[in-house]
């Protein structure tokens, strides 16, 4: 009897313990699922919101280019061509397609269907080929952002909305006539920033990012590797090198915005370097990534087995020759991987660049490292702050592009590691 009950007790206890075991394991799985679910939610959210930004609505219009307006007296002159009234030609074509728009107010809201960028397109086409003058050409006019959003179903027509019911009817007429087309959004990839969402692009920010990364890698890679070589191979173990080491580890964990403050106080105010320039942004990000590169390079150097060093010393190599000819080449894949990962982090960094003025509204594509510029993450921040509905999808699209860059860089790092990794 007692034996039986104690046995039952033991079985019950064991059941309880096994249940606890299962629960514990479940908590682990749930945790991982939460983390990965958040990741999927985030990327899926960006993809769902940003996907539509890769397409842009165009209105196909036949535009007459009258000879007497563009080339009065039959003479073709660049100055006249530049100052000709292209808007009027586009608007006329629009009126021809939508009959019965007479009042001033209606006309004005009709003209709002096409973007100001269409005028520039038309002008460029005429300037590129003056033979078009006097003929009727078909042009895909960029639709304004509200039309674009309306076509994509992101906003609805109605009173108080961005699209009036009259405009909606016109859009319907145009689309019934087959004049509304969705095409790949080349503006997004080829333009700089703009206040008009349909004309805003990431090319300026991409170039800015590339210039900034160029400065960052140019500074942080040699300095980081040199510092790592010194600390790992040559420095004597003493108080001084201890301080340097603790300092590097701490620097790696300093909030990035503090580096921005450093850049503002030292490089802008003290040295008088230009604001908003990739030069300063690159220097600040280089200082920020330096600790990462030093730590990664030291790890790669110390992974090279001592036997290599001893063999080289045995053959009569000087300490410098041992390092530069033997240890460094073997450690190089690891160093490169660390550098790419550090550069990827710098590419996604925003906060320190806000401090040094890279947050300005810049339309031009930067041409050198001292031109004012912005970078991709800052562009995302700027667009995220813009009130227009069309900037939401563009922000998400820019995010997708930035993430693609980062994934590519990390993939390269992973491939390098896999290809050159050696186990000693």
């Amino acid at each position: 009897m007692t034996e039986n009950s104690s046995r039952n007790l033991a079985i019950q206890l064991r059941k309880k313990r096994y249940a606890a075991e299962r629960r514990f394991r479940l908590y682990g799985i749930i945790s991982i699922s939460i983390a990965l679910g958040a990741l999927c939610l985030l990327i899926g959210n960006m993809a769902a919101k940003g996907w539509s930004a890769f397409m842009q609505t165009y209105i196909i219009l036949e535009v007459e280019l009258p000879r007497d307006g563009l080339a009065p007296g039959g003479k073709i002159d660049i100055e006249t061509l530049r100052e000709a009234n292209y808007v009027a030609y586009l608007r006329k074509s629009l009126r021809d397609n939508i009959p019965g728009v007479t009042s001033r107010r209606d006309r004005r809201s009709l003209y709002k269907l096409i973007s100001s960028g269409a005028t520039l397109d038309l002008q460029n086409r005429v300037l590129a080929d003056t033979k078009l003058i006097g003929s009727k050409i078909s042009i895909a006019a960029v639709a304004s952002d509200d039309v674009d959003q309306f076509i994509k179903g992101n906003i609805t027509a109605g009173s108080g909305g961005k699209i009036s019911s009259k405009q909606a009817a016109w859009i319907k007429t145009l689309s019934d006539a087959g004049r509304i087309e969705k095409r790949f959004n080349t503006n997004l990839f080829s333009n700089g920033d703009s206040r008009e969402p349909e004309l805003a692009g990431i090319w300026g920010a991409t170039i800015g990012s590339l210039l900034t990364m160029f400065v960052t890698v140019l500074l942080s890679f040699p300095l980081g590797v040199a510092a790592a070589i010194y600390l790992e191979e040559f420095a004597r173990k003493n108080r001084w090198t201890d301080i340097i080491e603790v300092n590097i580890n701490n620097l790696a964990a300093v909030p990035s915005i503090v580096f921005g403050l450093l850049g503002l106080a030292v490089f802008l105010s003290f040295f008088g370097l230009p604001r908003s320039a990739p030069l300063v942004g690159g220097i600040v990000l280089a200082l920020m990534t330096l600790p990462t590169i030093i730590i990664a390079s030291r790890a790669a150097l110390s992974a090279v087995p001592p036997s290599i060093r001893e063999a080289a010393i045995g053959m009569g190599a000087s300490p410098m020759q041992v390092v530069l000819h033997h240890v460094l080449p073997l450690a190089f894949p690891g160093i490169l991987t660390g550098t790419i990962i550090g550069a990827a982090r710098a590419l996604g960094e925003t906060a320190p660049l806000l401090m040094i003025g890279m947050v300005a509204f810049i339309v031009d594509i930067p041409g050198s490292i001292t031109d004012p510029a912005t970078v991709l993450p800052v562009q995302i921040y700027l667009w995220a702050d813009s009130p227009e509905r069309a900037f939401v999808e563009r922000t998400a699209a820019a995010t997708l592009i930035l993430l693609t860059f980062l994934i590519l860089m990390n993939l390269i790092a992973v491939i390098l590691r896999k290809k050159f990794e050696r186990r000693w």
Binding site: R17, A20, E21, R23, F24, R25, G28, I29, S31, I32, I34, A35, L36, A38, L39, L42, N45, M46, A226, A227, Y230, F234, A235, V246, N247, I248, N249, N250, A253, V254, P255, I257, V258, F259, L261, L262, A265, V266, F270, L287, L290, I294, P319, M320, A344, R345, G348, A351, M355, P377, I380, Y381, A384, D385, A396, T399, L402, L403, L406, V414
Partner: protein
């Protein structure tokens, strides 16, 4: 002629120097390399260094200094037109002259004195660059000649070159120290100036933060208050929410990955988790502001709660997601460092796996886990973009996660982005906040790194 041209000539000279040095060395040894102290290319490098280093240093000094000298010459040449202007007007005038000289559009392009000055400037610039060319090339050639002359059979070229390399490596290792010193000094100077305008007691103990300063003396509400307490409270609130999310999820993920998951699954899941750490913070910020905050607001409204659209909860939740991989990868390392013998001992006594984890591994790894959590806290405190985009701007002393609060980093950004005079208390306040942020994270980091390191030593 431009600095660019001088640089190209210098590169050519340096390359020549290398060949000349090498050839000279082989010559002195009558063609038998065996007799030389060092390998021939070290003699080449020796000459290269002598040619390049002094010339590059001269160039690096000349190019940034030239505009300063030219400006002062210009001011002198403008005479009475420049005297009587204050420094701002003078800067404007110089800028106009520079723009005309560069061929840019300037508002005063028709002023004859400006045009004359611009022409002078162009002439002087040419003169300066010619001087630069002469001086750097002179230095390069002199260096080349001296070095070439020194080459002899017994000269220790390798040792000389290696000494220079060593010095370069040493200087590179100092950059990190210089950065820290730069951060501390720049923050400290501005902070001291800030406390000259605003008493330190107000910064530390005043509960209200409204950093407006007067443009004019007679303005309404011209005096701001700079009490940082509510900012730190807001930062702590958001950090606490982030930690409530990140610590359990990150820790359990680490335990599952290191103790339970089969190797293959672990090899897939671990990099997937690291992706979370690689996503730029601005993306998290956008996600928080666009998706999470409205979702929480909608959910709050559906059960009758009043949720601010920039609630601390949204920012904290998303920040927590961002921090998960930090906690998990650091704790993973720590858990893996617990010796296998402890596990084996526990299993041998009949403990189940979860009992082993809870009663043996976690207590053993506890200091390390605490260290990694502290590092994550420091990360959360210094995080900027998520809170800039998803948290509020107005200071609010509350512990209600559904209200909007602001943080230290948000205030630094809002104080410094936009046009600001550099001396106003508003701008300087950002540096004081930066210094406070730096100190807090520094202390956390030092404690965390110490704990982790001590813990590692225990089991090594």
């Amino acid at each position: 002629m431009s600095p660019f041209f001088a640089a190209i000539v210098l590169i050519v000279l340096i390359t020549c120097g290398h060949f000349l040095g090498r050839r000279r060395a082989i010559q002195t040894a009558n063609g038998s390399r065996r007799l030389l102290h060092s390998l021939p290319h070290y003699y080449g490098l020796y000459v290269t260094l002598w040619t390049g280093v002094p010339a590059v240093i001269l160039m690096a000094l000349w190019v940034p200094l030239q505009p300063y000298f030219l400006d002062s010459f210009l001011i002198a040449s403008l005479g009475d037109k420049a005297s009587g202007l204050n420094s701002d007007q003078l800067g404007l005038l110089l800028n106009d002259i520079r723009n005309v000289a560069d061929g840019n559009i300037s508002s005063r392009r028709n002023d004859p004195t400006i045009i004359a000055a611009a022409n002078r400037l162009i002439e002087w610039r040419q003169l300066g660059y010619a001087g630069l060319l002469v001086i750097t090339l002179g230095a390069a050639i002199a260096g080349l000649a001296i070095a070439r002359k020194r080459i002899s059979r017994t000269m220790r070229a390798r040792n000389a070159v290696e000494r220079v390399f060593n010095a370069v490596l040493f200087i590179a290792s100092l950059i990190a120290i210089l950065t820290t010193i730069g951060i501390v000094l720049s923050l400290l100077f501005e902070t001291i100036r800030f406390f000259g305008k605003v008493p330190i007691t107000e910064f530390l103990f005043n509960l209200s933060w409204s950093p407006q300063t007067a443009m004019r003396a007679d303005q309404v509400a011209s005096s701001g208050t700079f009490g940082a307490v509510s900012l730190f409270a807001g930062t702590l609130l958001i950090t606490a929410i982030a930690m409530i999310v990140a610590v359990p999820v990150g820790l359990m993920s680490a335990i599952y990955l290191s103790e339970y998951a089969p190797r293959k699954i672990r090899d897939i899941l671990k990099p997937a988790l690291e992706i979370l750490a690689g996503i730029p913070t601005v993306v998290y910020g956008f996600f928080a502001a666009l998706t999470v905050a409205p979702a929480i607001r909608g959910w709050g409204e559906s059960i009758g709660l009043d949720v601010a659209s920039e609630s601390a909860l949204a920012a904290g939740l998303v920040m927590g997601i961002m921090i998960i991989p930090f906690v998990s990868s650091l704790s993973d390392d720590v858990i893996n460092a617990v010796p296998q013998t402890l596990r084996d001992g526990s299993f041998a006594l009949g403990a189940t796996h979860s009992e082993t984890v809870r009663q043996v591994i976690i207590p053993a790894a506890f200091p390390g886990i605490v260290g990694s959590v502290l590092l994550a806290v420091s990360r959360a405190i210094g995080e900027t973009m998520i809170v800039v985009m998803a948290a509020g701007l107005a200071a609010n002393l509350t512990i209600n996660p559904l209200e909007a609060v602001t943080t230290v980093t948000v205030q630094i950004v809002t104080l410094l982005v936009g046009d600001q005079e550099f001396d106003s208390a508003k701008t300087l306040a950002a540096f004081a906040l930066g210094l406070a942020l730096f100190c807090v994270t520094l202390v956390l980091n030092i404690i965390a790194l110490r704990t982790v390191r001590k813990y590692r030593e225990k089991y090594d």
